[in-house]
């Protein structure tokens, strides 16, 4: 199995380390949940893996040629477009029918799917952003708190949908909930908080 590796990776903002001398390796095709207290560097780790930021120290291997999809902590939707159009904005190859069916699976009925997302609740926006990433043809899925704002029932539905549709893609997700990680069948990576002196 090919591997993704972080080798002595360090990342600091304004001189303050968020990740320091961090090493880990992941098998491609696996599901990994990054957990840890707020400020432990979960989002930073995802962004480094996704190549959205460069490490200050160390290196990351195994991901340079991969096509990625990302659920950002903020939904980052085009507010005046509807859910179908938002998904198809990222994935023009997806048919309208397929997107509508997928939206239905995650609890967005057709009559809501044609409304501008600015009229959506937080949970509906989150599910749209989640589906956009899932339907985008990628090799690696990065999900930064993908179930934020969803109730337990919806989390179960979304997690099941993820497992059904991830195919053999590698998945990295961040969460504060062990239950969410378990629902996704993820291997948990726990990030400890770095002390102010960087240890």
């Amino acid at each position: 199995m090919k591997q993704i590796a972080l080798i002595h990776v360090g990342k600091a903002y304004d001189g303050k380390y968020v990740l320091k001398d961090f090493s880990a390796s992941f098998e491609k095709g696996g599901v990994y949940a990054v957990m840890g207290p707020s400020g432990a560097g979960k989002t930073t780790l995802l962004r480094l893996l996704a190549g959205l930021e460069k490490p200050d120290e160390g290196e990351i291997t195994g991901l340079s040629s991969e096509k990625i999809a990302f659920v950002f902590q903020e939904d980052r939707l085009l507010e005046y477009l509807d859910a179908v159009q938002n998904v198809r904005f990222a994935c023009p190859g997806c048919s309208r029918k397929d997107v509508e069916e997928a939206l239905l699976h995650i609890g967005i009925p057709q009559e809501d799917a044609v409304r501008p997302v600015r009229e959506y609740s937080g949970g509906m926006k989150r599910r749209t952003a989640f589906l956009r990433a899932l339907m985008f043809p990628s090799d690696v899925l990065f999900l930064d708190e993908p179930f934020k704002g969803l109730d337990d029932q919806m989390v179960s539905r979304a997690a099941a949908f993820l497992l059904e549709n991830r195919k053999d893609r590698t998945v990295f997700l961040t969460t504060h909930s062990r239950k969410e990680a378990e629902l996704c069948g993820a291997e948990i990576l726990y990030l400890p908080e770095i002390s102010p002196d960087g240890i």
């Binding site: 996704a50 959205l52 096509k67 990625i68 999809a69 990302f70 950002f72 903020e74 980052r76 085009l78 005046y80 477009l81 509807d82 159009q85 904005f89 990222a90 994935c91 023009p92 309208r96 009559e111 044609v114 409304r115 501008p116 956009r132 985008f136």
Partner: protein, 265 residues
Amino acid sequence: MKGKGQGGARRLVLQFAAAVFWIGLWQVVSMRGTLGIFIASPWQTVQRFFELCLTLPFWKALLYTTGRILTGFFLAVTAGTVLSALTAGFYWLDIFLMPVMRLIRTVPVVSFVILALIMVSSRYLTQLISFLMALPVVYMNVKNGISQMDPGLKEMAGVFRVTLWRKIWFMYVPQVMSAFETGTALALGFAWKSGLAAEVIGIPSGSVGERLQQAKVYLNTPDLFAWTLAVVFVSVLLEKGWRWLLHCFGNPAPVRNRQKGEKKR
């Protein structure tokens, strides 16, 4: 709701009363001895306006001036939009262009008119001056609209490898549209006023500016006022027409006005 409706009606009555007051004052002033020679009455103005409307040279002059001002305006809209879009990719271009844009905005229009008259034929004066006055307004407004684009959305589009055209159409155009509408409506007003001022100074043959100048030379104030009225009408019509065009064709948001149950795209 009742209160709001009453407030609207009251406002309308007050606006009407204000208009009657000012037109009345204009009528009174026009009837006063010496001043009356220089100021045509509202009735004379309207009468002369309708007389002019029945003549071909009136429409020819209006068409001549409007066509030239609009040429300058559209050139400015194209150049201003393209240049401001380019600054999104090449930040140095903004630094390079900014002194020129500021200069155009600060230098009085009359200086440009005189300079233009020395350098180009008065036939092209209207287009050139309208272009120059509208360009910085469009450029700065569109540039500001582009610079306010959410960096998170830009990153999202990069992650999902969205093509440039889709980014422009679905992200930038809706984001910039409001700034574009404000900027171009303002620029149209500038282009119109400066274009006319240029015509009055340069007196291109067959233009509205020439008619205004003639009215001034012959102290023909009914003509002056009637032409001014025509110019105001055209200016308002152009601005309304431009905003209407932008509302009809300018916003790619396909769900903006779609109601539930309406046919999908």
